[in-house]
Symmetry: C2
Subunit: 358 residues, 2 copies
């Protein structure tokens, strides 16, 4: 793009030509140190088998040559990589970012790295990623399934790579899972709204094929039934995706409804934030004119125009526990591993969007 770039390129060319800069192998180290490759390998992996003298000498040579062992070669021998994969539904959702953080911390403590991927709620993308993981001979997979049928995972099972379902109970698929009780969460939200006197509540959701979305609705209906209200007290509003923009659209639609509900329960906080914006833009007061409850309790929920009442999920814990289960299954004593379905409880966090400040 500029002349300066040219000069830089020339410099780079010289660099590669001159020295054997790129990639000293274990053989180079062995030769340079006057020992066998086996010894070099031992220095790195089982230092106690090598004499103090040799160890120090080889280490010195390694540093001097800038030797870095090749993971691919190790992997090839070991049969599997030192990577964990985490496949989430939406990286734009802070809930999954927190989840990833929890997983990463735990994995790194065990000497593994994490590769985070995004299925964007598409079963096709999910399938593609899963086969990528199989090619990589990944150590294990944490996955929030996008495919309700579970056939992607069924297929994946053939490869013998352990996986743990996250934010979803392992039902037909079998195996380990760590999830949060979405039915209970949905019930909490709606029970709260009912206790505030609301009798007509909208459920804003989308991506109906996601179990989380369906379970939260189920919980909502349970809560209504509990209160002796008919199921049609819950009015469905569909959003395209589970993000802020779709929430805004849904909010607009909500405003146009005849006999507008007095409260809104959203399948996640992104939707809720969108709905909130729509209300704000239309001059509808929250919570006086309409109450809003979200789901996930992402960090931004508390920072919203009106702080958002939300159902908190222990995202980081979810990621960490799932990783632990995965490591157990993938470990030496993997044979002794028993599959577990861990279900955590969510927690309702009441803020200004549902309750009038006094």
């Amino acid at each position: 793009m500029s002349r300066t770039a040219g000069a830089a390129g020339a410099v780079a060319g010289q660099g590669t030509g001159q020295g054997p800069e790129q990639g000293a192998g274990i053989k180079d180290v062995a030769r340079e140190a006057g020992v066998s490759v086996g010894t070099v390998s031992n220095v790195i992996n089982r230092p106690d088998l090598v004499s103090e003298r040799t160890r120090r000498h080889v280490r010195e040579v390694i540093d001097r040559l800038g030797y870095v062992r090749s993971e691919s070669a190790r992997q090839l021998r070991a049969g599997r990589s030192r990577l964990l994969s985490l496949l989430v539904l939406d990286m734009g959702n802070p809930f999954f970012v927190d989840l990833a953080r929890g997983a990463e911390r735990t994995a790194r403590a065990a000497g593994l790295s994490v590769m985070v991927c995004n299925s964007d709620q598409s079963p096709a993308a999910e399938a593609e990623y899963l086969s990528l993981f199989a090619e990589q001979r990944v150590h294990g997979v944490l996955v929030t399934p996008a495919d309700p049928s579970g056939s992607n995972l069924q297929e994946f099972r053939r490869h013998g790579i352990p996986f743990v379902l996250v934010d979803r109970v392992a039902g037909g698929v079998g195996g380990c899972s760590v999830s949060v009780d979405d039915v209970a969460g949905g019930a909490m939200a709606v029970r709260h709204l009912v206790s505030l006197g609301h009798r007509s509540i909208a459920y804003v959701s989308g991506q109906g094929h996601l179990l989380q979305v369906r379970d939260r609705r189920t919980g909502a209906l349970d809560a209504l039934a509990e209160a002796g209200l008919p199921p049609d007290a819950l009015r469905e509003v569909d959003a395209d995706r589970l993000d802020v923009n779709s929430g805004r659209d849904a909010g607009a639609r909500l405003l146009g409804m005849a006999e507008r509900p007095t409260a809104v329960f959203c399948a996640n906080d992104l939707l809720a934030l969108g709905v909130l914006q729509a209300m704000y833009a239309a001059g509808v007061r929250v919570p006086e004119d309409i109450a809003i409850v979200g789901y996930d309790d992402i960090e931004f929920a508390a920072a919203a125009a009106v702080p958002l009442t939300s159902v908190r999920q222990p995202a980081a814990t979810l990621g960490a526990m799932a990783t632990e289960l995965l490591l157990d299954e993938a470990g030496e004593q993997g044979a002794a591993h028993r599959h577990q379905q861990v279900v955590l409880r969510p927690e309702l966090v009441v803020r200004g969007s549902s309750q009038i400040r006094r």
Copy 2:
């Protein structure tokens, strides 16, 4: 180690004896199909070199055995992996999530996968990740440096793996970079505030070692100078980290200041959202009592209590362009590659947090 281990071993032995469930190799395919391994490889990688008949037959066997080629073996031969690494400062910041999305799209179009990692603004973590990438013989690295000295990258250069700086101009380090003009962005923000009549402006920032933070301040000072205001019209408020919580703390401190500034410019939107919350909690009106301008224009900026005026950065474009440069440098004709420093321009988005609605 224990009796059970022995038993487990036996089971495993049976397993391998019975069904080739786990991991059919290319050799198995070759044997089963009655061809050589070379032919199988050709079927996969250069189908045009194989006759229609054989091709079809081998494909059928591959499907039947559920053969998946081993990436590690390919990598070993190829010398480098098909993974791009992206090392960002903070995955909790939606700006970087957008950036990652842009990078991923471009990379996948080129048949590469992206591994996103989080240095959390720690030079030590950065160094650790970089050496991980070297071990992985990664195809290339996109990095938002956490280390101001650039010595981590200087060290990394030895490995001969191409890298591109993102959101940062390649200065001393050399090489490609794609960044946004932070000085210009800072100037835009403050120019805007000055034009609204503000004469005392706080700059809320933290992590002073980050160039982005410093550049934005420089721009702010430029704008003040432009307007004939003294540098001390900019009042520094330090936050620990660049997140919402730190912003809330900084906001509290701001409230305690003698001769409180009439406007706040924050180094990023997370801080701004935190400051906004602090004001809201203290009953200080925005923008009437104090104006706020953020930076990044993340999605949540528009959803805030008072929609946030912010300096928008083309995050996804940043990621995509950086990936393109990286692919060019890592490509066949890498020798012909000229290093480039691309600098994009940010854009001021004015919303309610700075300007009184009329």
